[in-house]
Amino acid sequence: MIKFTNVFKAFPKGGLALKDVSFHIAKGEFVFLTGHSGAGKSTVLKLVYADEPVTSGEVRVSGFNVAELRPRDVPMLRRRLGIVFQDFRLLEDRPAEENVAFALEVTGARRSSIAARVMRVLTQVGLAAKAQAYPRELSGGEQQRVAIARALVNEPSVLLADEPTGNLDERATRGVFQLLRDINASGTAVVMATHDLDLVRQAPYRVIELQEGALVYDSAVDEPRDQAATP
């Protein structure tokens, strides 16, 4: 599904953002990507959705060889992924349902099928009642649910979440995390970058930890370790 093989990523101004990172995430897995800020979590995700070029090594994402992807094929890759950010990235000038519909429209989906699919994902994230609300009328947790609905509407095989709970209070965090778990339970792989270790400890999922651009721990390969020792 997602396979990094000896991946290096150089900063434009010198230095390495990722050093020789290799891992393999299988279909339907839930993986935490942890580490301090600046450790390279976001960079890993950006390489997955081809927002940054790979400096060397191989990145494969659901059949795409990302390092050799032509610019015109990048949109095709992204339609197979759902992406969620800490800052939601919703369009402020349209209501929730149109924010979700947008992701379908850009793929050229038939208009007749859009409304039904949008309603289905909004129901899935528990926001069917607020379909007409504008982002500014929604709480942070609700906005993140809209963003998740937008990420899901194209039925991606992987959901990438970059600190999805970073801007949320504890209650909203729990809600959003539970939603991501539900999504994973229905078969979608989830890669969640976070530095919230409470969340990581709550669930029995695989943990990949980065430190200054290097992969220092992968619970799938390494010996289990004392969780208290992780940063």
Binding site: P75, L77, R79, L91, V106
Partner: protein, 285 residues
């Protein structure tokens, strides 16, 4: 396509102030071009009026039989450059002189013999009213056996030529400069519209929109803004023209084709300006 139109029109509703500002900027840039165009059109009109008076007169030897003259008249009218060739007999020349030269009426009245020769007055088609063609036709007229002398205002025709060249050169250079300035200003305005929506563009890319999909509403929007700007510019020019006409001088306005060209120019700048701005933006992010 449906979506392209919707997104393009939505942009006007979402950012009415910026949209209005773009249209106004485009309108005033094109208005300046339009004003200059008006000057050019009127200068051209004035020159055409002057050029209309370019005339070649072939004086005929006395006693030339009228049959030869009629034939020659036909021949001359068949010249590709010639608009009309009119025979003026000795008598009508005198009658005209009497009518026109009032001061000499008495002298002309007392003449025993008509001193004025008969002539053929030749007018050229508008596009041949320059020194080269006038000389050329004059030479051919001299070739007729019964033509005594050929007259035309040589200096005057040459000066007219020069004036025309200057007008054309100034028109081209100043017109091009104005057009370039308009393009730059309009390009900047469009760039602002693109930057204003850069967040939206980033999100569109994130959810897998192709560059073409992102670009299309901008192109349509740019073309619409350019067209509206062009229409307003023509309107403003018409206002200026009306004022000038009422208070200053009798002036000419654009022909429909010229007015349409201004609107078309605005539309094209809007379209290609957007294409350049969005293209640059998409390449950079």
């Amino acid at each position: 396509m449906n979506l392209t139109i919707r997104e393009a029109l939505l942009a006007f509703r979402r950012a009415p102030l910026l949209s209005a500002l773009s249209v106004t900027t485009i309108a005033f840039s094109l208005f300046v071009v339009g004003l200059f165009g008006l000057v050019a059109v009127n200068l051209q009109e004035a020159l055409r009026g002057v050029a209309e008076r370019v005339e070649i007169v072939a004086y005929l030897l006395p006693g030339t039989p009228i049959e030869s003259i009629t034939l020659a008249e036909k021949d001359i009218e068949a010249f590709p450059e010639v608009h009309s060739a009119v025979y003026v007999s000795e008598d009508s020349a005198l009658a005209r002189a009497r009518a026109e030269l009032v001061e000499f009426r008495d002298v002309l009245q007392e003449l025993e013999r008509n001193p004025l020769p008969a002539s053929i007055e030749v007018k050229l088609k508008p596009r041949f009213r320059d020194a080269e063609h006038v000389n050329d036709v004059a030479d051919r007229l001299r070739g007729f056996g019964f033509v005594d002398d050929v007259r035309f205002g040589r200096d005057w025709v040459e000066k007219l030529d020069r004036l025309r060249q200057i007008a054309a050169a100034v028109g081209l250079v100043v017109g091009a400069a104005f057009a370039v300035v308009a393009i730059i200003i309009i390009g900047t305005t469009i760039r602002m519209a693109v930057l204003q929506r850069s967040r939206e563009i980033a999100i569109m890319r994130l959810v897998g929109a192709t560059n073409g999909f992102i670009r299309r509403p901008f192109l349509l929007q740019g073309a619409i803004k350019g067209m509206l700007g062009g229409l307003v510019a023509v309107g403003l020019s018409y206002g200026a023209y009306t004022l000038i006409n009422r208070w200053l001088i009798q002036a000419a306005f654009f022909s429909n084709v010229q007015a349409l060209a201004i609107v078309g120019f605005g539309t094209l700048i809007g379209f290609f300006g957007s294409a350049a701005s969005v293209g640059r933006h998409l390449r950079r992010v």
